[in-house]
Symmetry: C2
Subunit: 225 residues, 2 copies
Amino acid sequence: MNSRRGRSAEGRAEVRRDLVAAAVRLFRTRGYEETTVDDIAAEAGVGRRTFFRYFPSKEDAISPDHEVGLARVAEVFASAHPAEPTAALVLRAGETVFDLYADDPALSVERFRLTHEVPALRDRESARVDHYRRLFTRQLRERFAGDPDGELRAAVTGAAVVAAHNLALRAWLADGGRADRLDDYRARFRKVVDMLPGEPARDEPALHGVTERLEAAVARLERHA
Amino acid sequence: MNSRRGRSAEGRAEVRRDLVAAAVRLFRTRGYEETTVDDIAAEAGVGRRTFFRYFPSKEDAISPDHEVGLARVAEVFASAHPAEPTAALVLRAGETVFDLYADDPALSVERFRLTHEVPALRDRESARVDHYRRLFTRQLRERFAGDPDGELRAAVTGAAVVAAHNLALRAWLADGGRADRLDDYRARFRKVVDMLPGEPARDEPALHGVTERLEAAVARLERHA
DNA sequence: AGCTTAACGGCACTCAGTGCCGCTGTACAC
DNA sequence: GTGTACAGCGGCACTGAGTGCCGTTAAGCT
């Protein structure tokens, strides 16, 4: 009855695409809360049970490639030359995710709209973004291992990069997700390097805190006065 | 039958505490997934329907004062003097949240443990943290309005402050949440000011970071002295 | 005492998500 | 070509979260 049966490679991918398309279509026309998983499955021409073989939950129907993005970022970090500057590395990793969203602009724009209007999807998206932040932070923590306050610098850098990435990405999506304007928003993301914490100072006497360094500067001033 | 009926102030607060205590107790002994809302309600001596009058979902049973934290942060920003340096302001706002968790260390430690072990609660916590990040970013965006790249600086600063806060808070909780060590971890959080993006450079060569700028100011004084 | 009001508990319902099982088309062996 | 192992599918039944509704009951007021 079903011509896709058994074609394990193309068949599965096709069913998956049908389900995503059905979910997007129904969420837009009928609303997220008003759409049941039964509706999505019926719209895609499969059984309800099959839906849950492709997506772990209803919320995941419009975010099919989250694991792919995480894997790509991990790959960028894993294959990076140890001497590559951190700023260049995090930029490359961030743009990898940017490109992933650019692969299917229409779906990304629709998901952006839904994640802004539906609280349940907004929270889900927050959790997803946090997965990226944790991945960045984890990778950077290894790079900064041994540095004074290396863990803090990893946390701040990871959070900053992900925040800047999302700011630029969402601006692009709000702008319609047009391919010809992609580079403008990628450039906007790259500006984050100007706001990243720098390497810990090495050649000076180790004075890291604001208070300590300020006190030292004032002490110098007092000596000169 | 129920002696708490109708005492709208104390009665409600008491029921609420009972429900939180029951949830924490059951989640620890039986596990989160294995505990139903019926179990929690029965343990607290109320009906299942009553549980949902106090908490919108099962996940919220252990995080009773999220809105309180958001409101306090908003209050810090709202009542701040316009001339107060951004670094000092975000530190004050962050420590306000720190204090909120310190109000009930035992509950905070238990919630920390659960949010690490249960994926559903971990994602929920991510969403909650993101609410703080958005609040910080929104407030800072107003402060930086007009600055070149003010929106990016707001996003980066907000994300950095929240990340540093969580790093320090979770370290304190992992350490047992002892009151006598609270100040150590608050100091750890304060180090974030050294990693925040500075004011946009106007006439000088690029000097980012609070510390560098203060040192430069003192250096100018030294030259004049 | 009579009345109003607010919280409570129970009931019934929808829907997400899961385990189980029987079915069927495909691929492979012979 | 026939038999067989296998993988994906659909249906069924079940649990549990979350919601709307309503009758009940205790507190507060007059």
